[in-house]
Amino acid sequence: MATYSTNEFKSGLKVLVDDEPCSILENEVVKPGKGQAFNRVKFRNLLNGRVWERTYKSGESIEAADVMETDMEYLYNDGEFWHFMKTDESYEQVAADKNAIREAENWLKEQDIYQVILWNDAPISVTAPNFIEMEVVETDPGLKGDTAQGGTKPAKLSSGAVVKVPLFINIGDVLRVDTRTGEYQNRVNK
């Protein structure tokens, strides 16, 4: 089993902490003038998103996690699992459960490409692209002429997510949305 020593720690490294795959976010060496050095390491648990800090004695090693980040195409939802397909022409498919999908559920659109993290070949996390284009399926009728100022209303997108949009938006409009904040960006001309 591959291991990393504390002096190989850097952000982005995927390791096993308490048997769970984690990504190193920050690594700081803390050392008194003369004396034992320690590494203060900030991790994100890739299974549940928890971010926390743990202290290591410098020189210790921890096990590497067999984690791969890969782009995959979203196919469909069967009621329990969300199915994705590799884009490397292998047509290999994986099924992500609710724990892996998390917030990405709001931004799923068939045939769009998502970043999927695989741990031991099973999906543990799905991340939507930062911006996604999606159709409005439900909203109050648009107000003619009000294209510039003031006021918002809720609009439901084809994925089920509800975002705040300007008053002039109509059903059938395609919107560009920031998936990190859930904020409307602009209307896309079709």
């Binding site: 050392k31 800090e53 290591y56 004695k57």
Partner: protein
């Protein structure tokens, strides 16, 4: 990054030259002699936490092994033994710890020795040097005991390993591995005490297990303490001073103990410096000595955030 360029700006390069000039004048005015000792040596500090850089002649590592000095301490003490009087040196030292925003593996040390000085007298001189370079007046002095008790609530000279362990684990998530008493002190120092220190201060009278090359004595409360001090500036250790251990027997014991510790940690043993021990046997005057990190001092003078910008070429640029 334009890697061929220096990390230090032109203004910082000039400030470094000024710092060196101030330093030389400071010691010239006090009648302290500037010396140079060898950077390459057949033996080096046995300190468990120092990771020396090895050097070999020729194209392979089959030749005699030398080390780049981790500090000029042992050779300067050999000069004290011939009766050179008060001396100082500005030199490069090498420690293979990972480079960080405040440590470069090659760095500049200012080290000086004051035969007949008590630790308190030397702290006062360091204070004068700080005034001459970074312009800070009146640096408060705290015993290790008072800051440790104040922040951690334990007496570091008398508490048990279990008490340190309990405190550390109640505040930090620590990976499960054996941590020894002195290492817990280091951890608590860096995580809790250093951040609570005032902008400038001295800590003095260290726990016995951190004596390094300082004399161990009983204080007025019956605590066994090491006559050692450190100067902290903005939470960073700048200088480390000792009332120097001059007893060759005790010194040899400590060097051998270091090597026992090194073996336990799976580190190579370091050859004990026989010439240094011979100098102690010949006799060096009782007194105090201090090593000060000039690059870090320059960082404070120039308000620099990263040691890379205090050096012409840090390890990432060579």
């Amino acid at each position: 990054m334009d890697e061929w360029k220096s990390g230090a700006s032109l203004a910082t390069l000039k400030l470094r030259a000024k710092l060196l000039a101030i330093t030389r004048k400071f010691f010239a005015d006090r009648g302290v002699l500037e010396v140079e000792t060898a950077v390459l040596s057949r033996s080096v500090s046995t300190d468990v936490h120092l990771d020396p850089v090895n050097a070999f002649f020729g194209p392979t590592s089959n030749s005699q092994r030398f080390y780049l000095q981790t500090s000029p301490e042992l050779q300067m003490k050999r000069l004290l033994a011939i009766g050179v009087g008060p001396i100082y040196q500005i030199c490069k030292a090498f420690r293979g710890d990972p480079s960080t925003s405040r440590h470069n593996p090659e760095f500049t040390i200012l080290e000086w020795y004051r035969p007949s000085f008590s630790l308190t007298q030397l702290m006062e001189e360091v204070e004068e040097f700080a005034e001459a370079t970074i312009g800070c007046l009146k640096i408060p002095k705290y015993s290790y005991l008072e800051v440790f008790e104040g922040v951690i609530g334990l007496n570091p000279h008398k508490c048990s390993l279990e008490e340190l362990e309990k405190f550390a684990h109640s505040r930090l998530d620590i990976a499960p591995i054996e941590i020894r008493f002195s290492e817990y002190l280091d951890l608590l120092m860096t995580e809790f005490i250093e951040p609570s220190l005032p902008e400038y201060c001295f800590l003095y009278d260290y726990p016995k297990c951190q004596a390094a090359m300082a004399v161990i004595e009983n204080d007025s409360n019956g605590n066994q303490i090491a006559r050692r001090f450190e100067l902290y500036c903005k939470g960073v250790e700048i200088a480390n001073g000792y009332f120097e251990l001059t007893d060759p027997v005790e010194q040899l014991e400590r060097l051998e103990l270091d090597n026992v510790e090194r073996s336990k940690k799976g580190l190579p043993k370091m050859p004990v410096d026989e010439k240094f021990l011979a100098a102690l046997s010949a006799g060096i005057p009782k007194g105090s000595g201090v090593a000060l990190g000039l690059d870090r001092l320059l960082m404070i003078m120039g308000k620099l955030e990263d040691i890379d910008s205090a050096l012409a070429f840090s390890i990432n640029r060579v």
